[in-house]
């Protein structure tokens, strides 16, 4: 198994090289560069623009720029952000905490609730509850995340139950530890729902379908016929088999942990990586984009690896070569 993991990790190296190269080419193919936002400003002079071009290395051919970037990354230096004039690694690191807590809470929200409600719905097939939950799920899948986010914000503004924007209150630094925890938790509720609701809805439908499939299998009928208690049939045999396909999804979910909920973070002023990357894309702040692309690629590979390992753990039929 260790050999298998090592091989997967080694394959990652050429993958990352190719991905980073493609992202760089795409960034270069996009018209203009970082300095464009200054080019139509009457107060910014030509000399300043030329000086900046030189300073940022934008006057060099793109292939040379890529080579320099790659060389620095191998040395562990992800470059400077043009906009912030600070190291990319610092900027990303500052935002990792916010992104991780939002991702973890929304993953937990969608997975725990999705599985519980999915199982409930499958067991109460065609009941009134199943129908209500089905309607909720389909509207969750159909409703765009940003719309739900704005709706939640609107409700918050009308009721005053939740803070509108940000991760912390402006007097956060003067609070006790417990107050700080409550402060972040209250800011976390709405973005978690906005981010997790779509995922929850589809997970619930998958779980329901998967469990229903398994419940129709011969071995379940056999177990019931043997007189096994219904509780054991469902929770020990059926559920365990029904959960397999879900684990593959979990792999993809992990890959999105740091990728960012770009739109949700923007709407809720959540200080995560998604917002940093979104801004960087708009401003063509290329090294932030590159770093985030590499991180996303790494997370995708690792997420899939974790999913494969979990799958092997729960399903004895899956074996590592």
């Amino acid at each position: 198994m260790l050999k298998y993991i090592a091989r997967r990790l080694i394959i990652m190296i050429p993958e990352l090289l190719i991905i980073s190269f493609i992202v760089f080419v795409i960034m270069q193919a996009a018209p203009g560069d970082f300095l464009d936002m200054y080019r139509l400003d009457p107060s910014v002079s030509q000399q300043f623009l030329q000086k900046m071009e030189k300073e940022l290395g934008l006057d060099k051919p793109w292939i040379v720029q890529y080579g320099i970037w790659l060389k620095n990354v191998l040395k562990g230096d992800f470059g400077y952000s043009f906009y912030y004039r600070r190291p990319v690694s610092t900027l990303i690191w500052e935002r990792v905490f916010a992104t991780v807590i939002l991702s973890v809470s929304s993953l937990a929200f969608q997975w725990i609730l999705g599985i519980i409600v999915g199982v409930f719905s499958a067991l109460k097939k065609y009941s009134i509850w199943d129908k209500i939950l089905t309607v909720v799920a389909f509207s969750g899948i159909a409703l765009p995340g940003f719309f739900l986010a704005i709706l939640l914000l609107f409700i918050a503004a009308k009721t005053g139950w939740f803070p509108i924007a940000g991760m912390v209150s402006v007097n956060h630094s003067q609070m006790s530890t417990w107050e700080r925890f409550k402060d972040i938790a209250s800011h976390l509720v709405l973005p978690t729902i906005a981010l997790g609701f779509g995922g929850f809805a589809s997970l619930m439908r998958y779980m329901r379908g998967s469990l229903l499939d398994v419940l129709n299998e011969d071995y379940v009928e056999f177990a019931r016929a043997k007189g096994m208690p219904e509780r054991v049939v469902i929770y020990k045999h059926a559920l365990r088999n029904a959960i397999n396909p879900m684990i593959t999804f979990l792999g993809f979910s992990i890959s999105s942990v740091l990728g960012g909920a770009v739109i949700i973070e923007n709407i809720f002023a959540w200080p995560g990586m998604g917002r940093l990357i979104y801004q960087a894309l708009l401003q063509q702040d290329i090294y932030i984009v590159m770093a985030s692309a590499v991180i996303s690629a790494v997370m995708l590979v690792i997420g899939n690896l974790v999913a494969d390992i979990l799958l092997a753990a729960v399903d004895p039929r899956v074996r590592f070569e």
């Binding site: 139509l40 107060s43 509108i164 924007a165 991760m167 912390v168 630094s173 002023a269 917002r275």
Partner: protein, 579 residues
């Protein structure tokens, strides 16, 4: 002995007429006649956080908004761009026979930095000579002075002299407006050649920011907020002798979308909000119930206009665009009123010339030629310009080429997209085959500034109360003279085909000469002529200007929002908040 040609103290001479004269300079600092109560924290929404706290590096308002709280300069401008003395109590201007210009600045005594260090002429001399006019630290200030950099010289601890080789009209405003750096902290960075690393945003949390302004930033949580506390050594006192500022502090709450900002304002999480035209009526209606002050502060400085590329790649089209009658026809085809009604909910004004109505000193409506919406007059102009129509109503030029072009703007700007549709519709009625194409902003910039591959565009520029700020646009060799770049500036312009009419040269001369004249009346006359020329010959065809809209909690006092002063920044030290 050096003879003095002119020696005058503008402060004393003009103070008496301060309220009346458009060039007013005040005897008192901003806040000298304020009254208020201590306490409270002002919470302001902002779209993004600062990128630096170093004014030399800062390019965008998210950074300069932070810097403007803790840095101060020798003079200050109020909400109508009138000059007030600040760190300098007064100044004297001398014009020497050799054409040079000297300004003697008398600093206030007893001012201290926020760390308690005394402020002296050394700080100002250091800031002018070693920071802003240091060839190793390129910055915008150097461009403002071109080849006429000021040199500062200390006379005593509270007096200094700045000398310019040539007379420069804006010297007081620009030199006086330089934010002063603390020599005792910044000098080592300059000497080591790493001044750009001075006061990065990390300096806020490290407690390294020291200033002369009323508030000092002490905490920055990235993408969340910036917190300022009052400067305990701030020098200003109000009418009753109370030390300013009144507020305990200010918080910039970073909220990246306008929608969320509005909801945060409704929820009482922030104290001020800049409404959009489309939501103004709704906010105004809620004002009483919510306890808000909501109002209109006159036109903004920003402009929006249509312009044509006189050097477009197709030689046939160049001819049309250089034809003044063609441009006049387009001007008559712009329905400004319907733009105001449909795009701004009525909260905008028509613009006819290059200077905003908000620039009250220079704006002169009487010299502007106006082109009210009238398609018949537009057709007459086209006939005068040698155009004709075929049997299908398609417009043809003198050689029989159908008039057909692409009108660009940047996608995502709903107002410009709306204007594009209104203008295209009208031009089609004149028989022009116009394709309106909103494109990506970066692509548009490339076309306008880098390769010249465009035909017509709707675009806007930021403006200011001082027309000279547009020199980059109006000088013939200016880097943003985009409708008719000079061949020496852009190599895509064919020197053999380059054409510059006399009025363009006259505008160039106005922008060259006005800065050498200290007599404001003469300067106003020159810019009057500038407005007349532009509105007559229409290199840029202006559309409409949005009004400045504001909303703030009625717990706040002493605000007087205008397009120039903004919601609150110009007199931040005088604002107070009911507890």
């Amino acid at each position: 002995m050096r003879k003095l040609l002119v020696a005058l103290s503008l402060v004393l001479a003009l103070a008496l007429f301060a309220e009346l004269s458009p060039f007013a300079q005040f005897e008192t600092y901003i806040g000298a006649d304020a009254t208020g109560q201590y306490g409270g924290t002002l919470v302001v929404p902002t779209l993004s956080g600062p990128r630096t706290c170093n004014d030399v590096v800062a390019q965008e308002t998210s950074s300069t908004d932070v810097i403007g709280r803790f840095m101060a300069s020798m003079i200050e401008l109020d909400n109508h761009a009138r000059i007030h003395p600040a760190l300098a109590e007064r100044w004297e201007i001398k014009q020497n026979e050799d054409g040079s210009m000297e300004i003697v600045w008398y600093l206030r005594k007893g001012i201290k930095w926020s760390d308690g260090t005394p402020f002296t002429a050394d700080d100002v001399v250091f800031t002018i000579n070693d920071v802003y006019f240091n060839p190793d630290i390129p910055n915008d200030m150097q461009d403002l002075f071109a080849d006429n950099w000021p040199v500062a010289e200390k006379i005593d601890d509270y007096t200094l002299k700045t000398t310019l080789k040539k007379t420069y009209r804006l010297a007081i405003r620009y030199i006086g407006g330089i934010p002063i750096f603390p020599k005792h902290l910044a000098e080592s960075y300059v000497k080591e050649g790493k001044f750009k690393e001075f006061w990065t945003v990390d300096a806020i949390n490290n407690g390294e920011i020291v200033g002369l302004g009323p508030f000092i930033p002490v905490e920055y949580v990235p993408d969340q907020y910036v917190r300022f506390v009052r400067n305990p050594y701030y020098w200003k006192h109000d009418k009753d002798g109370k030390q300013l500022p009144y507020l305990d502090g200010i918080i910039f709450k970073i909220i990246p979308t306008q929608d969320a900002q509005r909801l945060a304002f409704e929820n009482g999480e922030v104290d001020v909000y800049g409404p959009r035209g489309t939501e103004y009526a709704e906010i105004k209606a809620m004002a009483e119930e919510k306890g808000w002050v909501v109002g209109v502060g006159g036109p903004n400085f920003g402009t929006t206009f249509v312009t044509f590329n006189w050097n477009t790649p197709d030689p046939v089209k160049r001819k049309w665009f250089r034809n003044e009658f063609f441009r006049k026809a387009v001007a008559y085809a712009i329905d400004k009123q319907s733009m105001i009604d449909t795009l701004y909910n009525g909260l905008a004004v028509e613009q006819w010339g290059p200077i905003s109505q908000a620039a009250t000193v220079y704006y002169d409506e009487s010299v502007l030629r106006k082109y009210p919406y009238n398609l018949d007059l537009a057709r007459t102009m086209l006939k005068l310009g040698g155009f004709k129509w075929d049997e299908n109503g398609q417009l043809l030029d003198g050689e029989g080429n159908p008039v057909k072009f692409i009108l660009l703007t940047n996608a995502g700007n709903q107002v410009r997209e709306g204007m594009g549709n209104i203008i295209t519709e009208a031009l089609k009625k004149l028989g022009m085959d116009v394709t309106f194409a909103p494109i990506d902003f970066n692509t548009l910039v490339q076309k306008l500034v880098v390769n010249g591959d465009w035909e017509a565009v709707i675009i806007g520029l930021t403006g200011s109360d001082e027309p000279q700020g547009g020199a980059n646009v109006w000088r013939i060799k200016g880097a943003l003279h985009f409708w008719n770049y000079h061949p020496e500036v852009k190599d895509f312009v064919d020197p053999n085909d380059y054409y510059s009419p006399d009025w363009e040269k006259e505008i160039d001369r106005i922008f060259e000469e006005n800065v050498k004249i200290l007599d404001q009346e003469k300067v106003v006359d020159m810019f009057r002529e500038f407005q007349r020329l532009v509105s007559e010959h229409l290199p840029l065809i202006y559309t409409t200007q949005q009004l400045y809209l504001y909303a703030y909690s009625n717990k706040l006092h002493n605000l007087d929002p205008t397009a120039f002063g903004g919601m609150w920044g110009w007199n931040q030290e005088c604002i107070w908040k009911e507890q």
